[in-house]
Symmetry: C2
Subunit: 300 residues, 2 copies
């Protein structure tokens, strides 16, 4: 057990809120920041604190940034009301959004220039794991950043992968994970609905394939949503045009051809075009079903 | 334990040979047939028997057909030297190749017309599981066929999925499994080589992703071949243009659009075009690596 620290979580969405809960449970003084006041109030109700960035930031040991993308991360760190300008040298930014590796290197350099440590630390695991302190964190940065971030990592993660001293390596590994995760969700949808076209109900496909060589982590996690006809968003369709877009951008910059990723992305784009962006990402199955005139569980 | 039966295995490739070994180990009189005499001799060396189809077939309880495809299955069952014409009414064909559901229904009807039972019974699990009697079998057919095939199923399978009384349902589920298995192998190759393009060694990707949401059964099974630079074929590239071709044929017939499967197929076709058809299917990673000018483990 590390000594109690002062930890801020910036971005209290489903991941960030759970991470703040985990920090509180581990006994740390935990500040929450979000554009939505009700999320901040909810955290205060659980023992958290809030305040103005200029007043809180100088006392922080760690600021975990859990916003949607690179644009938001940059605004939170270095915008007019950015947090880094107020942080104390030797304190640490833990950057958790999925961003391009080059962006992570740029943020690290800007933090370092102000004496603030930076850990490139994308997260994997979903909201439930975040709340339970059982995330996987794909981290890279100098040893001093790992050391400074230790209390937050201990509170929030089941496993921290140390991917080396170079910022960007964590984000690169996260991109590899997102490539597979996104492709596997779309492939799950393609397979479940293909089975339906052959007269096999989704529940039967789930039962059999989860025990066969065709299974994947995402198949077992997301196919039950289709079987239940429940598309309330645990993780939404909108995540994937963003994350697979990052994968394809950095792949293209490396002159790497990723045709399966490109096609999976198009299926998620089609889902957003059908108005399903806010639904659970398993709703990409509806693209396949509508294209083929098939009816999924829970549909009229 | 069921009573000892007379079981033939037609097709002693890596799957069929293992299934014959499992039948022998379970105490059944086991006949082996193959176009390659050395495979038959090897089975005899392990306690199996052989002979001419016309002399052996009338005494069989069960004939398991474990050949490459629909064409070979039809030839083995109903060609000039086909086995069904010599089988006794009430005995059972267990058809294990990956074939279109319509083909399974056609074979079942032709067997039924001669009083021979037919179990549509594609297999999953690979050569090691076949030898250990631990296959997954996706079976459909009338209750009488399940009953007649019981001894072979008990000897060869860890799990038999009963997919109903209708032949073709087993083959349809196998097609769903192959869609996912093939896509997951190609996606694994895309992800491992994409990681390499970002400076991440394949071994590191294997370590991290196998513990994250991006993992799949195929990722964990095949990525180690790339990490080891070992493309000796456990299951070859050549399987996939065939099996994904079947998936796309029956999808097209059902007017079902399967774009991810279509792209994965093209990557395997490219691998065969590069002369890699006989290598382990993980060699599809070489397509990605050569396209991007990357070097995989074990390459000069």
């Amino acid at each position: 057990m590390t000594k109690a620290k002062s930890i801020a979580v910036v971005g209290l969405g489903s991941m960030g809120f759970g991470m703040a809960q985990s920090a509180l449970r581990a006994g740390h003084a935990t500040w929450g920041f979000d554009v939505a006041p009700d999320r901040v109030e909810k955290l205060i109700g659980e023992g958290g604190k809030s305040g103005s960035i200029p007043s809180v930031a100088p006392g922080l040991d760690i600021a975990a940034i859990v916003v949607l993308n690179a644009h938001q991360t940059k605004a939170v760190l270095f915008g007019d009301t950015g947090i880094v300008q107020h942080m104390t040298p030797g304190s640490c930014v833990v950057s958790c959004a999925t961003v391009p590796p080059d962006f992570a290197r740029e943020m690290a350099a800007k933090c370092t220039a102000r004496g603030v440590l930076y850990l490139d630390a994308p997260i994997s695991g979903g909201a439930a794991k975040a709340a339970d302190g059982l995330l996987k964190i794909m981290a890279s940065g100098p040893p001093a950043a790992f050391e400074a971030a230790q209390a937050a990592l201990d509170a929030m993660a089941e496993t921290v992968f140390d991917l080396g001293a170079e910022p960007g390596c964590g984000s690169a590994m996260k991109a590899v994970n997102q490539l597979l995760a996104g492709v596997h969700i779309a492939a799950m949808a393609e397979a479940i609905t293909f089975g339906k076209s052959q007269g096999i109900e989704p529940g039967r496909t789930l039962d059999v394939i989860s025990k066969c060589a065709g299974t994947s982590w995402m198949f077992e996690n997301r196919a039950p949503h289709i079987v239940a006809g429940d598309y309330s968003p645990r993780s939404s369709v909108n995540i994937w045009p963003k994350d697979l877009g990052i994968v394809l951008d950095i792949a293209k910059a490396a002159r790497f051809s990723a045709p399966i990723t490109a096609v999976a992305l198009q299926q998620f784009v089609a889902a957003t075009g059908m108005g399903l962006g806010g639904e659970d990402d398993a709703a990409v199955a509806k693209v396949y079903a509508r294209n083929a005139g098939l009816t999924l569980p829970g549909e009229a």
